[in-house]
């Protein structure tokens, strides 16, 4: 518990996490408002449509999570941390836990904020969260954000360098996974095993909307299986990162 | 010319530009070969298909361009630069020029490399570059990379901070421009004025439609033709650079 408190103090005593959280929430919810306001008979507002921008929030939170590690390496405070807590695995686990928890909270705020502003703007639309698919789509966002943050922390520990870690995370998440689909036939076979395609499957499976991009892929798992698979990849990468950090000179 | 030489030396004497260039070329061309190898009757190979992965090269080069500016701020060498060359505009224009030229070269290498490797893998497919649309699609890549690099240098100068500049550039280019399309009706009206949509229009207009990913903007109702789109994209890139230069001139280094 002490270590969690330490990492909480560290995270909240600098500005960038606040900026990232504010940006993730304000822009995502703001865009949800813009989307909701422009829905009409042709493009009807549904629960799923209100969540259309949540990926933006996720990548911003991934940047925050990676920064939580790379800034420690950049400013040498990681060494101060390892002097105060020589058990590196515990120190880094505590950091991961704090960052993931925060990401989860932001995810829920983003999801319910987007949904809430949609219901406010279009009170007549059917925005009740009834089915389990709809619950996954909204409440599942926090889980996905938390796991994505774990992955980002792992990449941060491995790369140690802000520019590299942020670029790898963003280019991979936003570009590589979708561009791979351009490989004829083989592309989709690969895509169905990619982590963020599976996290999208967890959130959007069974939710029909005019902006649903994930149809088409023949996933090896159902939505919850996809979540477990996504979690396994994130946690697996974290384990690798912890082993590397333990062996490496600080 | 001296200033250009100075910036060339600075750029090439650190490792990250080499890494970025190698990554941009190797991965893009490698993916092009993977795509070409997997084409068949159902998904035929053509000139446009060989170029599908070039956006990856572009974002990597944008990261390189932004780093060229932000690392100078991070390590304080920007002050050494301004001491050596008190005319800040001259120094920064030289930097932008060197980076843009390099980006242009990488763009051409990426484009013709992707095309060439596809030709090698599928020698029987007609990959002749005949129409102007096909020339734009391949040879135009260098121009797009150049302008994107200018824009990235401008953002780097304005933000001065690696994490911020890289995140803004990547999130904007790869995510925001696409997600805006999700706003019903209004989204596409906005998108037809967004810079990277125009970069795509320049390269893909009148060619084979790009089916997915960041190229999806080609279905937009653009206000300009392909060359007009390029001019518009260039105006935004250069405009942002001018803003950055003015800010850098006024600001304490």
């Amino acid at each position: 518990m002490t270590l969690l408190a330490v990492e909480r103090i560290k995270l909240f005593s600098t500005r960038s996490p606040w900026w990232c959280m504010a940006l993730a929430m304000v822009i995502t919810i703001g865009m949800a408002a813009l989307i909701s306001a422009n829905t009409d008979d042709r493009f009807p507002l549904t629960v799923s449509v209100s969540q259309g921008f949540s990926n933006f929030g996720m990548v911003v939170i991934m940047v925050m999570a990676a920064l939580a590690v790379t800034t420690e390496y950049r400013f040498g405070t990681i060494r101060a941390t390892f002097l105060a807590v020589p058990g590196r695995v515990q120190a880094l686990l505590a950091k991961t836990a704090v960052v993931a928890l925060l990401a989860g909270v932001v995810g829920e705020a983003v999801a319910f904020g987007s949904w809430g502003i949609g219901t406010l703007i279009k009170p007549d639309a059917d925005m009740a969260i009834n089915s389990s698919a709809e619950w996954r789509n909204v409440a599942g966002t926090g889980l996905v954000f938390a796991l994505a943050a774990v992955l980002a922390v792992a990449v941060g520990v491995l790369v140690r360098q802000t520019a590299g870690a942020v670029a790898i995370l963003l280019v991979y998440t936003m570009l590589v996974e979708s561009l791979i689909g351009l490989i004829p036939t083989l592309g989709q076979k690969i895509q169905r095993w990619l982590p963020f395609q599976n996290s999208t499957n967890f959130q959007t499976a069974g939710n029909e909307s005019f902006m649903n991009e994930t149809g088409g892929l023949d996933y090896p798992f159902g939505p919850w299986g996809s979540l477990v698979y996504f979690a396994a990849i994130c946690v697996g990468l974290l384990v690798v990162a912890l082993v590397v950090a333990k062996r490496r000179d600080a | 010319m001296t200033l250009l030489a100075v910036e060339r030396i600075k750029l090439f004497s650190t490792r990250s530009p080499w890494w970025c260039m190698a990554l941009a070329i190797a991965l893009t061309v490698g993916m092009a070969s993977l795509i070409a190898a997997n084409t068949g009757d159902q998904f035929p190979l053509n000139v446009a298909v060989t170029q599908s992965f070039t956006d990856f090269g572009m974002v990597v080069i944008m990261v390189m361009a932004a780093l060229a500016a932000t690392t100078e701020y991070r390590f304080g060498t920007i002050r050494a630069t301004f001491l050596a060359v008190p005319s800040r505009t001259g120094a920064l224009v030289a930097k932008a020029t060197v980076v843009a030229l390099l980006a242009g070269v990488v763009g051409e290498v990426v484009a013709f490399g992707s095309w060439g490797i596809s030709k090698l893998i599928k020698p029987n497919v007609d990959l002749a570059i005949n129409s102007t649309a096909e020339w734009r699609n391949v040879a135009g890549t260098g121009l797009v990379f150049m302008i994107a690099a200018l824009l990235a240098v401008a953002v780097g100068i304005l933000i001065r901070q690696t994490a911020g500049a890289v995140a803004i550039l990547l999130v904007y280019t790869m995510l925001v421009e696409n997600l805006i399309g999700l706003i019903p009706t209004l989204g596409q009206k906005i998108q037809r004025w967004l810079p990277f949509m125009h970069a795509n229009n320049f390269r893909t207009a009148d060619g084979a439609p790009v089916t997915d990913g960041p190229g999806a903007g080609s279905q937009l109702d653009f206000p300009f033709g392909p060359w007009g789109s390029l001019a518009y994209f260039a105006a935004i890139g250069v405009g942002l650079l001018v803003v950055a230069l003015v800010v850098a001139k006024r600001r304490d280094a």
């Binding site: 002490t2 560290k10 405070t77 101060a80 390892f82 002097l83 105060a84 807590v85 020589p86 000179d249 | -």
Partner: protein, 300 residues
């Protein structure tokens, strides 16, 4: 007490620290001396468990650093004053350190007071001058009231007032019975700060001795003598002392005989002396002499 036994660290084919063994006693300030690049920082990082030695080990009060339960309560270290987040306030920086080792926030305010940073504790550390950053680093080292303290080049870049302050501070800490290891590449600085010396060059131990002994061994006393009858004096001295000529002004430089004996010898033989002055070899010269072989980079 710090014990290093056979510490060895390679980086690729470069050997940074080579089979280094020494002990640092409590209650004294021990200087860790060597030219730049001699391996001082690497050694300190290995003592603190940040770098893993390829061979050998370092123990603090009989235990490796990583096995200490509340490390800040045993060891305080200032390796680099820049190891703080620039956008974090001095107090926040010390608070997270304190929290990690169950140290009260009251102690944070105490150490801030001790190093004279109370008034600026709320300010971001990024805006601190080097002297202030150094004081913040020392505050961090003192946080757990440790019995062992390590300082890596603490006076680098400090103004004279700051140097005196740190020097007195270290003497006080040693006076309280603590183990104090402080590195420097300046022998003149160490001569005024440290009671014991560990001298290394190219990662190897050159000497471990008291500072006085080191200076005595390293610098040789001699006497400058000028006389109109230099040749006669040279004959008289021959056999009982070594005599050389000063290249600049032709004075005799006598080794191995004290000024009084030389004066008496001259008077007994009616030799007029114009100058009779004892000289001491300079510390820096002696240090350069010792480490000449082991300096990593030479000027042209």
């Amino acid at each position: 007490m710090i014990e290093a036994a056979g510490l060895t660290k390679h980086y690729g084919t470069t050997v940074a620290v080579d089979d280094l063994s020494f002990t640092v006693e409590a209650g004294r300030v021990t200087g860790f001396l060597g030219p730049n690049g001699a391996g001082k920082s690497t050694t300190m990082r290995m003592i603190l468990g940040l770098d893993t030695p390829n061979k050998g080990r370092a123990l603090i009060d009989g235990k490796p650093y990583v096995e200490l339960k509340r490390p800040l309560g045993t060891v305080g270290a200032l390796l680099d004053a820049k190891w703080v987040h620039p956008n974090r306030s001095a107090r926040s920086h010390l608070r997270w350190l304190a929290k990690s080792n169950h140290i009260s926030y009251q102690r944070v305010d105490e150490v801030l007071e001790m190093v004279g940073l109370t008034a600026v504790a709320h300010r971001n550390a990024g805006g601190f001058s080097l002297g202030m950053a150094q004081r913040l680093g020392i505050a961090g080292a003192l946080l757990g009231d440790p019995s062992v303290l390590l300082f890596d080049e603490p006076v680098n870049g400090l103004d004279p007032e700051g140097i005196v302050w740190i020097r007195q501070f270290m003497h006080r800490l040693a006076g309280e019975g603590r183990t104090v290891l402080v590195s420097s590449h300046l022998l003149s600085e160490m001569a005024q700060t440290a009671q014991d010396l560990i001298v290394i060059g190219r990662g190897k131990l050159i000497a471990q001795t008291s500072t006085d002994q080191f200076i005595k061994d390293a610098t040789e006393d001699s006497v400058r003598v000028r006389s109109p009858h230099a040749d006669k004096l040279r004959e008289l001295l021959d056999g009982s002392a070594a005599v050389t000529d000063d290249a600049v002004d032709g004075a005799l430089v006598v080794h191995g005989m004290d000024p009084a004996s030389i004066g008496e010898l001259a008077a007994a033989n009616g030799v007029v002396l114009h100058e009779l002055s004892p000289t001491r070899g300079s510390l820096e010269e002696a240090f350069m002499q010792l480490t000449k072989e082991s300096v990593e980079y030479h000027g042209a």
